[in-house]
Symmetry: none
Subunit: 208 residues, 2 copies
DNA sequence: CGGCACACGTGAATC
DNA sequence: TGATTCACGTGTGCC
């Protein structure tokens, strides 16, 4: 609330920041007057900038970004890590499960669930469609839908008919749900707003 | 510009009040009262705690922790995400049957018990079809084919028309190849020999 | 104008 | 002790 000694160096506090930008400089020592110096001012500055840089690089690693917010960056990173972990689990299960089911009796009940569960699952799936722009006409989509027979094929057909061009898609099914994650580019050769794309996808899903 | 100390505020606050600095903008007056000021104090507090919570949950996801530091938490998360991404890539490559130079220092157990694998060359996409029985009329298929536009859809259609009933399929694309892994059951209501199923699948692939 | 998000400088705490 | 990390309240833009 108050600046003690600093008195808000009106003169030498040439503070210029754009939004989310950095400050230029603040001078402390000088003049005849007393010094309002803090010991760890520079150290604290470096610490802040370092943390900010780490956050930036973290954001660059996460493909799905909902907001530039400091908190949401971490939130997205959390969900992305969880997705990656589950992907690793599915992949290694499939890699190890190519032989007979000898091992997975105890450490993994996954085989039993997959075989027995099948189509008798109750539909507790919460559908979800997330669209986030990457750059230009590239997008990242994540679709969670209830697994129904032939639905994935129809979904792909519908998306193709609407001009969606999927690159490197990944599809997994788990607990009676489809999870489709993919990069998409070139919708009608031009970029639509994110929310319109999402609405379009929702419509497609609704029809399939 | 501020010293605080929670409870100490009220003591020191008043005596610092008299120190008057000119600020261009709004001044939080009511100095006469003993009440301190700041409007978004609570909001800022919630924001800080929220971010701290997110950071904590992020740290809980990362298995390796070098330090409890705020910056190192993010740093560890960054390296962990990179590890996960490369792990996913290695696993899908192994599922695709592509021999990559294993330079990994991964602590993960890598079972190289890749099945029969009658692949021929490695310069291009190695088409591969592996069928292994599970029990009864259930079996496990792994299909690696060259990625062409719309081919996966046609493949699924053809398989469906032949009575293949896929359960929990997983599809990934990498390096211009499709990898389809799935459990299949109930071909024509009765079990065919494994090699005949494989021949049937090869024929389907050849036509798509 | 208010909510929101951020960078800032500072005192305290830890090693 | 000094170096380093943290929480805090505030000023200040941006919707």
């Amino acid at each position: 609330m108050e600046f003690i000694g600093s008195a808000l160096d009106e003169l030498y506090l040439t503070q210029q920041r754009n939004y989310r930008g950095r400050i230029s400089r603040t001078r402390q020592y000088n003049d005849d007057s007393k010094e309002y110096k803090s010991k760890n001012l520079d150290a604290e500055r470096r610490r802040r900038q370092k943390l900010s840089d780490r956050l930036l690089t973290l954001r660059s690693l996460v493909p799905i970004i909902t907001n530039m917010n400091k908190a949401t960056i971490i939130e997205d990173a959390i969900t992305y890590i969880q997705e990656l972990q589950s992907t690793v689990k599915v992949l290694s299960d499939q890699l190890l499960g190519m032989d007979v089911s000898i091992e997975e009796e105890k450490n993994k009940k996954q085989s039993d669930e997959e075989v027995s569960a099948e189509e008798t699952k109750q539909s507790d799936i919460k559908e979800d469609v997330v669209v986030s722009g990457i750059d230009g006409d590239k997008f990242w989509v994540k679709i969670v839908i209830e697994k129904r027979r032939g639905r994935f094929t129809r979904l792909l057909e519908a998306m193709a008919s609407y001009g969606f061009n999927l690159s490197d898609p990944s599809v997994t099914t788990s607990n009676g749900a489809f999870l489709v994650t993919s990069q998409v580019e070139g919708i009608y050769g031009d970029s639509l707003p994110i929310h319109q794309i999402r609405e379009l996808l929702l419509g497609i899903i609704r029809e399939t």
